[in-house]
């Protein structure tokens, strides 16, 4: 199948960076929810079909400064809401490994661009797995950084307390090098932190340098709760990869995260609640189709939103609005926050027993295009292994760990807060 048929980009446009820099000569696909000055940024939504940002996202500015050339704005699930890149208003992206199948999502265009060689590297964003999921399904590497490591300035918000911009690349070292280029505090994002100040004994050296394959003496905690629910074929590939790490000198222990059975519910309540507020600005006044609606402006807003948003976005806005409403706030939103605190605590405890934690990235193999869209619940459950990490604000990486039934399987490694070096190191050993 020709690459054009994969529908990787919403907008193909070259944006040249500086002549020199660590990423000089590299091409990068940028997810279409990262603002690019003068180049339209749709978020995969008809609502933003003609929206052209007047400014660059911080990560885009840093890419340019590092010498990278942006080759296009990668397709995605509408506003990041989906795990298959099928909810895009610009049509589904197909998986380069098997075009009958989805590339995962929501950063499906970014992962497919790398897997198909359309770009050397890509930036995605990860709210509940949206970098790791397509990385796993397309057989590439994807990193979800610690919350606060990478600036979100210019990332069009879906669920702002959960999401981070993350790199995708064919190799761990490549992804780590891209992370080196975009990470670090930003005065425009008050939630960014300087990791050297945020944690004790922060390691010297770049993330790329940490990809040295040395796992001798590293303790890897296998999260049994998140292995049990996965497909047999996936578990097989995962266990082979873990056995391989053990043979390279890693110590493997079993750990349990009791809270994770509530993580998916908590994640969706929080993400949808935040989304209902973050997406409120798209009311037809400045975005989407507006004008010509008679009467009360609330009616005009409703009409513009009905027209501009796809069904999954509407579903999440409605559910999120409900969860925040008086009378339901305590039952849903507050409870979800409590669960989030519990998940964090659980991870802290597990990470006191192991240096990094390991799970299959996705509990399933990539589904066929069109198979899963009608069943939102099964789609949400596909995120079981990735969302707990976002709830806990921790870093995670998905690295290819062989194949099952001819399809890629991803292994997820979760590290402590600002433990990017650790997960990069172990992931590079998986590549060996």
């Amino acid at each position: 199948m020709a690459d054009a048929d994969l529908n990787v980009f919403v907008t193909e446009e070259r944006i040249e960076g500086e002549d020199d820099g660590p990423l000089a000569g590299k091409t990068v696909a940028v997810k279409d929810n990262l603002s690019t000055e003068g180049v339209r940024t749709t978020c995969g939504s008809a609502m933003l079909d003609d929206y052209v940002p007047p400014y660059d996202a911080t990560v885009v500015r840093r890419l340019k400064g590092a010498g990278a050339t942006i080759v296009g704005k990668a397709n995605m699930d509408e506003f990041g809401m989906g795990g298959t890149t099928e909810t895009s208003a610009y049509g589904p992206t197909r998986n380069p490994v098997d075009p009958e199948r989805v590339p995962g999502g929501s950063s499906g265009g970014s992962a497919a661009a790398v897997a198909a060689g359309e770009a050397d590297l890509a930036l995605g964003t990860d709210t509940g797995g949206s970098v790791r999921n397509p990385a796993a399904f397309c057989g590439v590497v994807g990193i979800k950084p610690t919350y606060g490591l990478v600036s979100r300035y210019g990332l069009v918000a879906y669920a702002n307390s959960l999401e981070q911009v993350g790199p995708l690349a064919p190799t761990v070292e490549g992804a780590a090098a891209l992370l080196d280029a975009v990470a670090g505090p930003d005065e425009r994002d008050g939630t960014t932190r300087d990791p050297t100040e945020a944690v004790d004994d922060y390691p010297d050296g770049s993330y790329a340098d940490a990809a040295d394959g040395d796992v001798d003496g590293t303790t890897i905690g296998v999260v049994s709760d998140l292995v049990e629910g996965a497909d047999e074929a996936v578990v097989g590939a995962f266990e082979d990869a873990i056995a391989d790490l053990e043979s390279q000198g890693a110590e493997v222990v079993d750990v349990s995260l009791e809270s994770v059975e509530h993580a998916v519910q908590a994640y969706y309540v929080i993400a949808m609640s935040e989304a209902s507020s973050n997406l409120a600005r798209y009311d037809g006044v400045r975005y989407g189709k507006s004008g010509g609606y008679e009467g009360n402006w609330n009616d005009a807003f409703a009409r513009a939103r009905e027209e501009g948003f796809g069904p999954e976005v509407k579903r999440r806005i409605l559910l999120g609005t409900y969860a925040l409403s008086a009378g339901y706030h305590d039952k849903y939103y507050k409870k979800a926050q409590d669960a989030r605190a519990w998940v964090k605590q659980d991870f802290d405890e597990a990470l006191s027993e192991a240096d990094v934690l390991a799970t299959p990235t996705m509990p399933v193999l990539p589904p066929k295009v069109g198979d899963s869209l009608d069943d939102p619940l099964s789609l949400y459950l596909m995120d079981a292994n990735t969302v707990p990490v976002n709830l806990a604000n921790l870093p995670a990486i998905s690295v290819p760990a062989g194949e099952a039934e001819g399809l890629p399987v991803g292994l997820q490694l979760v590290g402590p807060k600002f433990g990017e070096h650790d997960i990069v190191r172990v992931a590079s050993a998986v590549e060996n």
Partner: protein, 496 residues
């Protein structure tokens, strides 16, 4: 409850206020845009991705706004928490760039304050429930009339993101007049703190809650039982933009509610809009009936630790304290002390002048002459603060008898203000040095010689005659003689 029905009882008003004030900071609360409107600025030019609410833009807290809020908290004797944080208040309105407002909810920057207000010679304490920071929305311009009749509405986001402090009082006011005094007092305090500019358009906006309770349930000290307050239906009056407007709107509401109750109708629990031009409050359609703002934490702004800020951030001497000190230290009477502390700038100006001269003379010159002439010209003390030395020179010239008070006030001061000239230049140009004694003596003789009728009238006991002769002498000396001296000299000569 007594056997009497509500309509038969005397009623008393219970009022609480929510006061929104724009804070004087250099930049907006969550971005680097200026808060200062330039003259004739185009709509939507003093904006950036953040205050326009563009997709992906993030707020970053301007700590200057928090400092201003802490100053207010100190002045209100309020509690400042260890940590303060922000929430989103979600509602759809076209002037709101993001369709949510970033505000404070469960961790406001100030809680439990108080402010003393003088009402009818009585010092009353008004309790402040809370005061919190938030962002101002943009502004709407309804083309061709009001919100109901406009063909279309334009949005201007220049104002969006201006820091606002919302001060919420307890229902401690018992009359519309009290709210006016309170607002004046609050404005005075805020201006002293240097965090507020009352001359800025729209810098003060007030919402008021008002209900009527049986007068005999108001205790001697003005307190009212919680049950009584809760059982009374109250209205919220919006769109009040001045002290006077507050008094008028609430006076209207008092009458309206009293009449409703007297006629046996219940006061409807509703939001009403103050229509300043018509002088009435109008029921707003009950679309806002259920207010569910779906508050939740703003994750883009990490909580800010402010413990210790209260101790670290100094505030200037506040108006009440300064007034008392002026009376004590400079021996001023109440009226002068009031005038000379009306703004911090006036008080600073006075103190500078008082340090160089007799405080009494300084008081007369600043409080009566200067403020009077400024007021007449619609000028403010801040228009002349950089000319303090010139003003002091004028007082010095009077003090040393180089020029008469009359000339100093009527000629020199006026030309200083109108033409921007310095006092010595005016005196030089007008030849206004004090007339010497010989010159005055000659003028007195001439006046007596030239006006025999007036002299006769004087001896006949007509009081006006002497004034006439004084006027003649003043005319002859070009106003440079001291009227008191002329008066004395004339009398001496006439009694000879």
């Amino acid at each position: 409850m007594t056997a009497q029905t509500l309509e038969q009882r005397d009623l008393a008003a219970v009022i609480g206020l929510e006061v929104h004030v724009q804070l004087e900071t250099d930049t907006k609360i969550f971005c680097g845009c200026s808060t200062e409107a330039t003259e004739d600025e185009e709509p939507n030019t003093r904006t950036c991705p953040t205050c326009l609410g563009l997709p992906g833009a993030l707020p970053v807290l301007n700590e200057g706004a928090v400092e201003a809020a802490v100053k207010i908290g100190k002045a209100l004797d309020a509690d400042i928490p260890e940590e303060t944080s922000f929430h989103r208040k979600n509602y759809y309105y076209p002037d709101l760039p993001k369709n949510f407002q970033i505000t404070q909810y469960d961790a406001p920057i100030c809680r439990d304050g108080r402010i003393e207000v003088e009402i009818e010679d009585e010092r009353r304490e008004i309790s402040i429930r809370r005061a919190h920071l938030e962002e101002d929305p943009g502004s709407l311009q309804h083309a061709g009339g009001s919100i109901d009749t406009a063909d279309y509405t334009l949005v201007n986001y220049n104002r969006a993101g201006t820091p606002l402090m919302e001060v919420v009082t307890r229902p401690d006011f018992r009359s519309p007049k009290e709210t006016r005094r309170f607002l004046a007092k609050m404005e005075e305090v805020l201006e002293y703190l240097g965090v507020f500019d009352a001359t800025r358009d729209g810098s003060l906006r007030v919402d008021a809650n008002i209900s009527m309770v049986p007068a005999d349930e108001v205790a001697e000290d003005g307190s009212i039982a919680e049950e009584t307050l809760e059982s009374a239906n109250r209205t919220e009056v919006k769109n009040i933009s001045s002290h006077k407007g507050a008094e008028k709107a609430l006076a209207y509401e008092v009458t309206r509610q009293k009449n409703a109750i007297k006629r046996g109708r219940a006061v409807e629990q509703e939001t009403r809009h103050w229509d300043e031009s018509r002088g009435v409050t109008v029921s707003m359609r009950s679309k806002e009936e259920e207010k569910d703002y779906r508050y939740f934490r703003e994750a883009d702004l990490p909580p800010l630790r402010v413990s210790g800020w209260k101790e670290e951030i100094p505030i200037p001497e506040l108006p009440d304290a300064r007034r008392d000190r002026f009376r004590e230290e400079y021996g001023l009477d109440e009226e002068s002390a009031d005038k000379l502390t009306s703004t911090k700038e006036v008080a600073d100006f006075y103190e500078e002048v008082a340090e160089r001269f007799d405080p009494d003379l300084a008081a007369t010159w600043v409080a009566d002459n200067l403020l009077g002439e400024l007021n007449y010209r619609d000028m403010r003390i801040t228009d002349v603060t950089d000319r303090l030395d010139e003003f002091a020179r004028l007082v010095e010239l009077v003090d040393e008898g180089e020029i008469t008070t009359k000339n100093a006030e009527e000629v020199v001061l006026r030309r200083m203000l109108d033409e921007g000239e310095d006092p010595d230049a005016v005196i030089e140009a007008e030849g206004l040095g004090t007339a010497d004694d010989d010159e005055v003596a000659v003028a007195v003789s001439e006046a007596i010689d030239e006006n025999p009728d007036a002299v006769e009238d004087y001896h006949a006991g007509e009081g006006g005659a002497l004034n006439f002769l004084v006027g003649q002498v003043m005319g002859k000396t070009g106003g440079s003689a001291d009227p008191g001296d002329v008066n004395r000299l004339l009398r001496e000569r006439l009694e000879d």
